[in-house]
Symmetry: none
Subunit: 249 residues, 2 copies
DNA sequence: ATCAATTTGATCGTTTTTGATTATTTGTGA
DNA sequence: TCACAAATAATCAAAAACGATCAAATTGAT
């Protein structure tokens, strides 16, 4: 066990629990307390954590609704089946937009072997498609560390230079009143993507249905189809609005 | 068992476990520890892995936990001192371009706590600056998996929309005939960056001096300054050409 | 077969990392 | 406020890893 590995494990543990203590770390990593203390001091010097008496704390405990890691942990079964169903809509040769939502990024494992082009502003999606057959166009602009995605005017401008056959986007809520987002940034990206694609799929798990978060950014008709695990018979208002409803089992 | 085979096995093992140690490798591959050390150093020089005390770790941080710590990993001392010297040129408030060379990316550890804006097309650089005070603008375009960077017409277009006070670029060779690159893609990015910056720093370790690789892409005057560990008295032709020569001890 | 170039291994001095010891500081509760 | 326990910083020593150097083994070309 070398210093690098140890520090990585410490940071990983910190990421999970928010704080660490020296004694447990020393026993767990099978080294002395003073070595752990040295590691923590070095990491603190790099600004990777806050040093406390007897341990350390996360430097920036960002506990928002936008924390991607947290988000992707919940609703996994439903989201996976939605993503699988969405991937089935993709044909070889397609050029597709992928939004930066947690549900949307689940599509990646199912499209690695398709010969398509993906245009995205999401770094997690880029990671997931590494070393696959998919060719990737990364949207440029201001990088948002919290959301792990690119946003801003330049990003919207970039999108408008391209045109895709299909777009897969997410939303934080959908109701008869329209589509809802948790932030302006995501909303404007979603709008831009939908505007430049021939067909827009909206991916929403049951938890998002009939939910109205604070930012209403579009009519329900922004999307051409909805893929969800929710009971479709309760969504007739969307069918009337012209959306194709696709069930994810 | 030849060197090629050994390196392949090392990389394969690294891919599986994320890190390797020298002693187990030496016994497993039935060779001496110093040979393994040499292999690891060569692989590290090629950028295929990060060298650590007693072993090595995977270079591609994208697949691991997003908290890689390579600060004290063993690097080429020359490249590190060049990078440190380059970082000293950066002031709070600067807007800087960072090229995607291996030397340039080493600047990152030294600028994490500066309040600057970095515009780059390199994913490793983006990764190194995660959770730092640096604000990042990611250049968009076609993503090149091999180089872990963005290239192409859209990328050049993106660059031309911005203007930076300083650019830090690399080259694979420099001689009185000009600057040399190993690929057209890198070369055109370097040209675009230099064209949009007020002052262009060229970072070259001694191994690149008087080297002429196959692609000559610019005059030496593309750069305004050269930062190198090479003997400056032997580079008078650059001084005559108007370049500021900066020694990295 | 011969010679040069490359690769590998061994040795030695140096550097880095780690752990132990001791004095000092910090936090806690009476 | 004071005393006591825990954590820390500082110093030193041992162990491991490292680079440099040189010699032996291997390889490749003539």
């Amino acid at each position: 066990m070398n210093a690098q590995k140890r520090k990585q494990l410490i940071l990983a543990r910190l990421e999970k629990t928010g704080d660490v203590e020296i004694k447990p770390l020393a026993t767990e990593l099978q080294t002395s307390e003073i070595t752990i203390r040295r590691d923590l001091n070095q990491l603190a010097g790099d600004g990777r954590l806050y040093r406390t008496h007897g341990g350390a704390m996360k430097v920036n405990p960002l506990e928002g609704p936008h924390n991607f890691v947290n988000k992707s942990a919940i609703h996994s079964a439903a989201k996976d089946s939605i993503a699988r169903r969405a991937a089935a809509e993709i044909r070889d040769g397609d050029i597709i937009f992928l939004d930066c939502g947690s549900t949307v990024s689940r599509i990646c494992p199912f499209i690695r072997n398709k010969t398509i082009k993906v245009i995205t502003n999401s770094l997690p999606i880029l990671y997931e498609l590494q070393n696959s057959r998919v060719s990737i166009n990364l949207i440029g602009g201001e990088f948002d560390q919290e959301r792990q995605a690119v946003h801003g005017k330049m990003a919207e401008f970039h999108i408008r230079k391209y045109r895709a056959s299909k777009a897969f986007v997410g939303a934080d809520g959908i109701s008869p009143k329209g589509l809802f987002a948790n932030g302006e940034k995501e909303a404007s990206m979603t709008l831009a993507l939908a505007g430049q694609s021939g067909f827009t799929y909206l991916l929403c798990d049951a938890g998002k249905i009939d939910r109205e978060t604070y930012w209403r950014f579009a009519e329900t008709t922004l999307a051409d189809a909805l893929i969800t695990d929710y009971d479709l018979t309760k969504l007739k208002y969307l069918k009337k609005a012209g959306l194709r409803l696709i069930a994810a089992p």
